[in-house]
């Protein structure tokens, strides 16, 4: 019975003991937080494929099927032969049959060779498969079937001369393909930039600068600077610095030496009826169209110039935005877009008014 003073004392002592124990060793099992993942949930999200092909789903795909998928879903950005640098860096090019033998892309040693394609860099074919599967096509990632991913990978490998035209890539032969990757021996772990143990080789950083303080051997010549014609290439720097402070921004709209802006001017009022930027971004229009320059598709201003004068401009342009099409501006098709009538009309209205900035 706890009414006895003795029991009460014991009870109090017991509570103190418990409290001390709780302080010294806080509960680390966090009851009520988290639950077991179901096998279906894990299957839905665990999509990574490692260099040893752990995680690679069973399946196959042919070069021929890959070409079909490529021309429908990939060529807009990467070019018919994976060679285009218009939107992203080129995927294919710069590798040779000799590289397939040696496992190292010789052109990586040629500073005059412009750029580095994906096939010049990548050492592991698993990376290509995983990349396409998780992140491509750029505007509709994770939309390809397993067969399509195998096919597109096979097509790319064929463009690089790694597999023949009649090849069918599968989980069974991808290990053999790995042995033909042109840059499979192109990675080094000889550096000290890995923040863990074991993986990389070097123990010490690769530079060993000294902190000399007085009469140090210095480099006296200015060997690189921006040429005058690039003075305003990043916009007027006067507008990119705070209007008050120890230094003001240089007015790069004028030649060097012009006096700086002195007074803090109030911020300009927001421009009325400019580009519906949020809408263009939200609907991924700006993935393929820029304001004034051609990207994958024509610029908004070109479209405005060509169609803005039509009497039915808004209906025509809204329709085109929603249905897509091919042939008006060239052979790269624009896919149909799923956006509301109202959004399409807003964009069409802006185009009709000349696509102002």
């Amino acid at each position: 019975m706890s009414s006895s003073p003795k029991f009460a004392m014991l009870g109090l002592f017991g509570t103190l003991l418990l409290a001390t124990a709780a302080l010294a060793q806080p509960a680390r099992d966090f009851p009520g937080v988290g639950r077991a993942a179901t096998p279906k949930e894990i299957a839905a999200w665990d999509i990574d494929v490692r260099p040893d092909f752990k995680g690679l789903p069973k399946g196959s795909g042919s070069v021929a099927r890959g070409q079909e998928v490529w021309e429908g879903k990939c060529a807009q950005c990467h070019g018919i032969f994976g060679e285009s640098g218009e939107v992203f860096a080129p995927l294919v090019g710069g590798t040779t049959p000799e590289d397939i033998k040696t496992g190292h892309v010789a052109r990586l040693n040629d500073p005059s060779f412009p750029g580095r394609t994906t096939l010049m860099k990548v050492a592991t074919v698993s990376t290509l498969w995983d990349y396409i599967n998780r992140a491509m096509p750029w505007t509709a990632p994770k939309s390809l079937s397993t067969e399509e991913v195998y096919s597109v990978t096979a097509f790319l490998l064929n463009l690089g001369g790694i597999v023949p035209e009649d090849f069918v890539l599968s989980d069974q032969n991808i290990g053999a393909v790995q042995q033909r990757m042109p840059n499979r021996k192109g990675m080094t772990l000889d550096h000290a930039l890995w923040p863990g143990k074991g993986l990389t080789k070097a123990k010490a950083p690769d530079t060993r600068a000294q902190a000399c303080m007085k009469d140090c051997p210095a480099e006296a010549k200015i060997s690189s600077f921006l040429p005058d014609h690039a003075r305003n290439a990043h916009g007027n720097l006067a507008e990119q610095n705070r209007a008050v402070g120890p230094q003001h921004g240089a007015d790069t709209s004028k030649p060097s030496g012009a006096p700086p802006q002195r007074r803090a001017e109030p911020a300009p009022a927001p421009k009325a009826a400019g580009a519906p930027t949020a809408l263009l971004n939200k609907n991924s229009c700006s993935a393929c169209h820029a304001l004034a320059s051609k990207l994958v598709g024509p610029s908004f201003q070109e479209i405005a110039k060509k169609h803005g004068e039509r009497s039915d401009a808004i209906a025509y342009l809204s329709g085109k935005i929603r249905s897509g099409g091919v042939g008006v501006w060239g052979q790269i098709p624009m896919p149909a877009q799923t956006l509301s009538d109202a959004d399409a009309a807003t964009i069409a209205q802006w185009l009709k008014s000349g696509a102002p900035r």
Binding site: E86, P141, L193, L226, S284
Partner: protein, 458 residues
Amino acid sequence: MSSDDKPRGRLIKAPENFLDPAGIRQVFAEAKSGRRDFMRKAFVAAGAAAAAPLALATSNPVQAGEGDPNILTLPEHSKGLGQAVATEGYGKPSRYEANVQRRQSPGLTQTAQASVSFAPLQSLFGIVTPSGLHFERHHQGWWDIDPSKHRLMLNGSDASMLKKAMVFTMDELMRLPSVSRFHFIECGANTGMEWGNVAVPTVQYSHGMLSCSEFTGVPLRILLDLAGVDYKKAHYVLAEGADGSSMTRTIPMEMVESGEVLVAYGQNGEMLRPEQGYPLRLVVPGVQGVSWVKYLRRIEVGDQPYASKDEAVHYIDLVPGGQHRQYSSIQECKSVVTTPSGGQVLLDQGFYNISGLAWSGRGRIKRVDVSVDGGRNWRSARLEGAVLPKCLTRFNIDWVWDGKPALIQSRAMDETGYVQPSYKQLREVRGTRSIYHNNAVQTWLVQEDGEVKNVQLS
């Protein structure tokens, strides 16, 4: 096989692909042919006994006998009633601060969704980056994700790596014991445009893929313990995002076991901004930003590294000999003077506070030295406030500008004794085509006319 020998044309793409040899050759050629004029302009009066008077007037003129009308005539704000509380439910910067913006570098990328915006370091004070000015790097655009629907999954490369695969809601993650820590985040490609030559005018574009915040979250170690991870088997962690790019990077288990890797939801006292991965991102102190996976949806523990797209196609460093360094992750000790810096104009001769930022992915900053004569003589700067590990450190040093050309540099040292290298030292071991991990000493030329320019020395 498409034409092997056909030049690829211009190629100035995402930061990891922006090398353009044609463009670089052009800039070099112009630099060479124009150097004499340029040098004359910059240095012609350097040897003169007294500096020529500046074209600039003094910065604070007074008309004799009268005075400053800003003092003599009381302004409206001294004589009227100001605005009400909560006029803005979420306050904004002064309208006079409109120039302080993050910006894209023109021509760097062809799309705005696979691109980068740079933080305006030239206009920032202290060490904390205002969340709205934090640099952005997106590979497939950013999202504003409903936190009530966001989940974090934890599983193994196979079932033997842990006792049970788990799923957490945001509610659950926010119930767990939290920590709050200040850390810098720097893109591995920061200053990448400058490997071969000067390419951009201001510190915003040269160093602006750098920010620093107080992050709040749960040490990832707590979650791994909860799932019963077998640390004897699982030496690597894969972090994966929920967005279209589903970024994946391999992280060493030793870092996670140390407790410093966080599953973070808080940034500078509020939730993460959508551009920074709302509602959940990984914080990997000292490691390049690409590993700080945004919109974090899954953690896998495994016995091998993953060679994901961002560690086998991008974010690999080309070194002399034609090999690429893989799994390069640590951001080594680096510093930059942010004021005065490129694209600014000194208003007058006299006193200036040279101020800048130093940081190291290997720990605390120990010392920062500043030179105003292109590296011949150095003075140690004052380190301001808290000097925290793997965090920005603000440094300041007094300087009186005599109106002559000056070459301003900073050089940081971290607690391991590592000293930030010069371009010469860095290029000797890494060449000029690495793109990533450029931590060389930055030089700003202050011209006689007060204008500051980005230059490299040899």
